[in-house]
């Protein structure tokens, strides 16, 4: 396998040299777009996403992977559909980008039609709503979606940790509802029981009442499915209000703000399996440079947006090597042709619905850091 990859790499370098030699590929600046929440309550994610994508840009430019320098045009989505559509229109029609980084389920769904109509690739590395898998062929996910996380975690927890009775607190949107469905079916199969489900509105901030209901249900564990500030809020307030049971949550929780919270201690979260200690050169370089640049350990989100930009680099590089124009349609064709990619976290391939398949890790929070309990591969 490795041999083949090396061979491919050599071939593509050769092809590249050939292309340059024949002078068919003119040097050009590369701009891709990004729709991140840069203001509003979810802006904390914007910074996290940018740190990954910015590093990838640095690496691609340092390697001279493309014929001209790569840059990212950031637009503020505020994490909401309408500003996202306005920003997307600007990226597509004014900046003329072939490739847009997207985040958040609502934003991604809102721009997916524009991406399709204008043949621009939109790549999600942050939203984990399962419906993101079906937004058309121009919509890709470089993140495993949340149903995979639930499917990985629950059998393990029921079996190994003796968790039988689970209460679910979920945000009342498609994301939360899909967790509800997935949790019900996986718990059933694994021999656990969903004893109560409590939905919370997107804007809620007060959870002491919810805490009382959780206690009344006497569960072994509480699964929390929300995001952003609210998710952190729920964890803190449940602990404050006498809920001492095990907390379980998904990858959305693993941001620095949340890990720093003392109440996060002991919480179990799933997330895509990235072996940061891997010897794979791409991963190694990413981890070393990320820590050097930002003075903290990278999280899965940093990885995903790094990967999202890296995929563009790889695809555009290949297209330039063939002397083809870097357009959304060509990028899509190239991705379907190349199948597997050498990214941070190893070599991964896209499923036919445009979603990357990553292994899932079950982790526990200890002293503000995560420790891996087990890794589940699919």
């Amino acid at each position: 396998m490795k041999k083949i990859r090396n061979l491919l790499a050599t071939l593509s370098v050769a092809a590249c040299a050939f292309a340059f030699g024949s002078g068919s590929a003119a040097a050009q600046d590369h701009t891709i777009g990004a729709l991140f929440p840069l203001s509003g309550p979810n802006a904390v994610y914007g910074d996290v996403f940018m740190s990954g994508s910015d590093l990838a840009v640095e690496h691609i430019n340092a390697d001279k992977m493309l014929s001209g320098p790569l840059s990212i045009a950031y637009e503020d989505s505020q994490g909401k559909p309408q500003p996202a559509v306005v920003g997307m229109t600007k990226l597509v029609n004014v900046t003329h980008v072939p490739y847009v980084l997207s985040a958040f389920t609502g934003v991604s769904k809102a721009i997916s039609t524009l991406a399709m109509r204008n043949e621009v690739v939109a790549v999600n590395g942050g939203g984990v709503g399962p419906d993101l898998a079906s937004l058309g062929k121009y919509f890709w996910n470089v993140i495993p979606l949340v149903n995979l996380e639930v499917r990985a975690a629950m059998p393990y927890l029921v079996k190994e940790k003796g968790i039988k009775r689970v209460v679910l607190i979920y945000i009342d949107d498609p994301f939360g509802n899909s967790i509800l469905d997935e949790l019900k079916s996986t718990l059933d199969k694994a021999g656990g029981e969903l004893v109560d489900t409590l939905s919370v509105p997107v804007t809620a901030q007060q959870f002491s009442g919810i805490a009382a209901k959780v206690r009344a249900a006497k569960p072994d564990a509480v699964y929390i499915a929300s995001y952003g500030a609210q998710q952190i809020q729920i964890v803190k307030q449940l602990r404050d209000n006498g809920v001492s049971q095990q907390f379980i949550t998904y990858s959305g929780y693993l941001v620095p703000d949340a890990l720093a919270l003392p109440e996060s201690e002991g919480l179990i979260a799933t997330g895509q399996g990235v072996n940061y200690k891997s010897d794979d050169p791409v991963t190694k370089r990413f981890v070393t440079d990320y820590e050097a640049k930002y003075k903290r350990a990278p999280t899965a989100y940093n990885v995903n947006y790094y990967n999202a930009v890296l995929i563009y680099g790889i695809l555009a590089h290949a297209l330039e090597a063939e002397g083809k124009e870097v357009t959304g349609a060509n990028l899509l064709a190239k991705r379907e042709e190349m199948k597997s990619f050498n990214l941070v976290g190893g070599t991964v391939s896209f499923q036919s619905n445009g979603t990357l398949l990553f292994p899932i890790q079950v982790k526990v929070v200890k002293n503000g850091k995560t420790e891996v309990l087990t890794t589940v591969s699919f």
Partner: protein
């Protein structure tokens, strides 16, 4: 037991709602200024306290800074925004728009300084202990309720017995009368802003410890204050106090019957019904025309 727990939770929430709402009600009742930036006062006080707290200045200085900030904001807003608008006989709606604009500015400035994510004031006081079987109460619950009681006690005495308090009530009833008696309405309204802003401070600090802060929460604070003011009856401090408690209790006890996404709707359904059936509110004096 669940009902008892929810009642206590509701009382705590209600006490905090009542404090902010009475601040708004006092300003609105006496000056007729639709002070929508009251939510911004809340944010400013809370974040100032948070800043002093993480910088290690301690509780007392934190409270002083939060109070000073809240008062300064209220007074400056009154002096440089509301007074000029009212001089041109701007309607309550013009004032409302200006106030709303200021609210947006504060939200974003605070967001730029402190980050737009969630912060929380760390204190062991927010941690509940099991008082009886299945009944958890945090020290902050008592503090909220006692704080509310103390502040209202002082406010009540002030309004009832002090000269300024009586003028405030007079201003609410009849601004002309105040002028006739040689009082300066401008000065009295500055007083209303001072007191109204002070009342926000304890609620802001306690909320920061129990439910955390984020720059965008001013809106919610404001909506609740407005609802409590109307349900209580415009101009009635006691009515607003009761309404704040009722709304807090309703929001919490509603959990017994409906899913939590409906709790906010419960609050505003109460508001809507009051406006339709009893526009003068719980203890309002005059009808709403």
């Amino acid at each position: 037991m669940l009902a008892l727990q929810l009642t206590i939770t509701g009382l705590q929430t209600g006490a905090l709602y009542a404090l902010t709402a009475v601040g708004f009600s006092l300003i609105f009742g006496s000056t007729r200024i639709f002070h929508f930036a009251h939510g911004a006062t809340f944010i400013i006080a809370a974040y100032l306290f948070y800043f002093m707290d993480i910088s290690g200045y301690g509780l007392f200085l934190g409270i002083v800074a939060a109070t000073a900030g809240a008062i300064a904001f209220g007074l400056l807003l009154n002096r440089f925004v509301y007074v000029p608008i009212q001089r041109d006989e701007g309607s309550f709606f013009t004032v409302f728009v200006a106030s709303f604009g200021i609210g947006i500015v504060v939200e974003n400035v605070v967001g730029m300084i402190f980050g737009r994510g969630f912060v929380t004031i760390q204190t062991p006081l927010s941690f509940s202990t099991e008082v009886m079987d299945g009944l958890f109460i945090a020290p902050l619950s008592w503090i909220s309720i006692l704080c509310a009681a103390a502040f209202f006690g002082i406010l009540w005495c002030f309004l009832k017995f002090s000269h300024m308090g009586m003028s405030l009530r007079a201003l609410a009833d009849n601004p002309e009368l105040v002028r006739v008696f040689g009082l300066n309405p401008r000065f009295i309204s500055a007083c209303a802003f001072t007191i109204g802003s002070i009342l926000v401070v304890p609620a802001a600090i306690i909320s920061g410890a129990t439910s955390g802060l984020n720059p965008a929460m001013g809106h919610h604070v404001m909506l609740i204050s407005l609802a409590a003011t109307i349900v209580g009856g415009i101009g009635s401090v006691t009515g607003t106090l009761l309404a704040g408690l009722v709304l807090g209790l309703a929001e919490s006890l509603a959990l017994l019957y409906v899913d939590s996404q409906w709790t906010e709707a419960v609050t505003f359904a109460i508001l809507f019904l009051f406006i339709m059936l009893r526009p003068s509110g719980l203890l309002g004096r005059s009808a709403a025309h």
